[in-house]
Amino acid sequence: MDKVNHAYDERRVLRDVQVTLTERRVAVIGANGSGKSTFARLLNGLVVPDDGEVRVNGLSTRTDGAAVRRQVGFVFTDPDAQIVMPTVAEDVAFSLRRRKLSRDDTARLVAEHLDTFGLGGHADHPAHLLSGGQKQLLALCSILVTQPQVLVCDEPTTLLDLANSRRITELLAGLSQQIVLVTHDLDAVLSYERVLVFADGTIVYDGPPADAVKQYRMMITGT
């Protein structure tokens, strides 16, 4: 990210953000409205910066948005907004449409991934009848079936209970992809290699997790 600025109407949400993310595990923390979610959306071209440049593996999100999105998967806070097909298996299969696979290959890949995520028994179930945790698992499964190189997760556990939140956190930890996790869960970031702390649209701290969490707590409590 090179000197990125962004505003929604009159409200500036990011100011001169300059960062290169090479670590496999990067977490982003900060108060509501600090610019975290916009930062995450910039990474796969959902938001194009007003000024500056965002590049993923050399591709600009401004000119190669679709190509970037093929490399960068995005998990939203609310899985209900991300699940677009009525049944579980159909939603995973939807992600494979652009790969033009045969019907059998698609069915095989879908079944394999659903089994991996513990959703094999729910393949033909209506997605809206799944629990919150299962919906987030399905959202993750539908993204990972396309094998993105990078996974950006925007508060994926905010709407989940403690058990499901742990389950998603553990699942993310086991993935081979580079992960950029936006979260309010300060325990979850402790296992990450690098943590960015956002405040008022800028990165106010960038470093190891323990120091980042300490810095963030000081910002919040003022001590």
Partner: protein, 199 residues
């Protein structure tokens, strides 16, 4: 009909091609228009019930298809009873219910992806007029998927209304519902983009 409630069962209806079922649905609904007598309605009802049995659909699942119509049916039956005789009123109302039940049977026994594929094939000739069949088919599946989501938003808004003692206020229901639906539409668009729909 728009519940997206496909139920996986080993029935002959499940194995029929989606395009064939849609064509048969169109023919059957046209045929229903021609049924005028109570005896004819009785035969049609038996035929539809028979198809539900062949499709191995449980009574509760079948009821769920026509249940949302109950207030509409009551209203239309009342109006018809005022302007026509009893057999004609019952016949007209029953035909509407049967048409919806048949449409529900198609969605219960057909995967949405198969319906989408059939619709894409059927709309292919319209490409010359600038219609994108894949987009139209996607629109249909999004509509099906959005029904339970919008119902969930409506339920939350109603709960909030009750909690604040505003049960009778139409505005207190409509405004947050519209805002919630628009917000959902916004995020859904973003999710589609994130999942490569702009390729």
């Amino acid at each position: 009909m728009l519940t997206g409630a496909y139920v996986a069962r080993p029935s002959p209806l499940h194995h029929l091609p989606a395009g064939g079922k849609l064509a048969a649905l169109a023919v059957a609904c046209t045929g229903l228009l021609m049924v005028r007598t109570p005896a004819g309605v009785g035969v049609a009802t038996a035929a539809v019930a028979g198809l539900y049995v062949v499709g191995r659909i449980r009574p509760a699942e079948a009821w769920a298809q026509v249940r949302p119509l109950r207030w509409f049916v009551a209203a239309i039956l009342t109006v018809q009873l005022l302007i026509t005789d009893v057999p004609a009123a019952i016949s007209l109302t029953a035909r509407i219910v049967l048409a919806v039940a048949l449409a529900g049977l198609v969605t219960l026994t057909t995967r949405t992806t198969d319906l989408m594929a059939a619709m894409e094939r059927a709309l292919r000739p319209l490409r010359r007029l600038g219609v994108d069949p894949a987009r139209v088919a996607l629109l249909m599946s999004l509509a099906i998927r959005s029904v339970p989501v919008v119902a969930g938003i409506a339920r939350r808004v109603r709960d909030a209304q009750r909690a604040r003692g505003q049960e009778r206020s139409i505005r207190a229901f409509a405004v947050p519902l519209v805002v919630g639906v628009l917000r959902h539409a916004d995020t859904l668009g973003e999710a589609l983009q994130a999942r490569g729909m702009d390729d």
